[in-house]
Symmetry: C2
Subunit: 233 residues, 2 copies
């Protein structure tokens, strides 16, 4: 019997990776007189990976890694004006409107109105930026709580289930990331529904394949109410 | 009857502003061939203030503002190597060991062992960096929960009291910042104990003076057990 549903935010409730991908593209353009796009992209990914433990996730972390990459790839020749350009790209990302995924506001409103479920947002990333997007999403009236975590691993999910007094088999996590929203949730004995997104950040990919009766692949968010009706019948 | 004690973290549990002040000093040095220290400091503070709503608090935000300040103050003449130097200052801050304030581990352990109080950490700032410092502090076994918030205003305290099911008059917040730890806590009807720190960040200062029977000025953290004995007798 599912009583609580956790929703991932980036690329599950609203678009995110498309914005990062567009900025990657503009960064490659900005650095095109130093290196080709493939080289810029590979170096940026390597820099982000190296800085992840120190910076954590989010746009500010990405921006510091982008500046570091630009200095490295230009062998120190990049100008202050070009670095200012990178900071301006960051400001555009930080000010970007929140674009909901298709069917999300309707599905969340339907499940909240149903009355039988407690809805939570559980997202990793930068607290300040995620809070801004959550406020702009106008979804808050439907949710019981909003949680931003540093990493989505089994320990984090265990801590959240304990904090909200939820038994694992009463919990369903919904998200686009096999690595963050599905595998660690199955690992702690809860249910996980995968709603695919057309892009996955290179650092959020995994080789592991989820399986078992608590794993529920969906085509889109609109399929969620039917899944819940089936699980709770 | 106080049942729950909230502790601010930066400059209440561990040193923080001293690290920022030292980095400000090194930044002034780094930019000394463009401008004098007073000018660098004033411009950096203004840039941080302007970027606060967009970036939020923390070292990554500070670093992006510092790079922007350096470009501005050098009229675009600063070199990529000098900007790399600013990023290296940020890395040093992010890797800095956690230095506890005097008397803190003992007082926290005493109150936890007492058994009558639930202890929480309530801090604003960057989620990733605060989580790192909390882990390094080794205080986790004493605390029931650890909360990082985007802003310490009355709405935030009301939300936290509701989440943890605490009546305002059963809650005591302990912190060094009159603006963040004392005034908004008194505003929601809870108790607040002020433990002064010798430095206050310019953006965390206030003209308002706390007052009333729920405001408790202390000389140091060591005075906290006596205050609690008095309030709960």
């Amino acid at each position: 019997m599912i009583t609580t549903i956790g929703f991932d935010a980036d690329d599950t409730l609203w678009h995110n990776e498309t914005i990062f991908a567009a900025t990657h593209g503009r960064l490659c353009e900005l650095l095109s007189h130093y290196h080709d796009a493939a080289q810029v992209d590979a170096t940026l990914n390597a820099t982000e990976h190296r800085n992840l433990a120190r910076y954590g996730y989010g746009i500010k972390s990405f921006t510091l890694s982008a500046i570091e990459t630009a200095i490295e790839l230009s062998a120190g020749q990049i100008s202050a004006d070009e670095i200012r350009g990178i900071i301006e790209l960051a400001h555009e990302m930080l000010d970007h409107p929140v674009e909901m995924l298709e069917g999300v506001p309707e599905t969340v409103a339907t499940l909240a109105a149903h009355g039988a479920y407690r809805l939570l947002v559980i997202t990793k990333g930068d607290l300040h930026d995620q809070s801004r997007k959550y406020a702009l999403s106008a979804l808050d009236p439907h949710f019981a709580d909003f949680e931003v975590v540093t990493e989505k691993d089994p320990a984090t999910y265990r801590r959240l289930l304990a904090r909200h007094r939820i038994a694992p088999d009463e919990f369903l996590m919904v998200g686009n990331s096999i690595k963050s929203d599905i595998l660690p949730v199955l690992d702690v004995g809860a249910h996980a529904a995968h709603v695919p997104y057309h892009l996955t950040w290179v650092l959020d990919r995994t080789e592991r394949v989820p399986e078992g009766p608590r794993f529920h692949p969906l085509r889109s968010m609109g399929d969620l109410p039917d899944l819940l009706a089936q699980l709770n019948k």
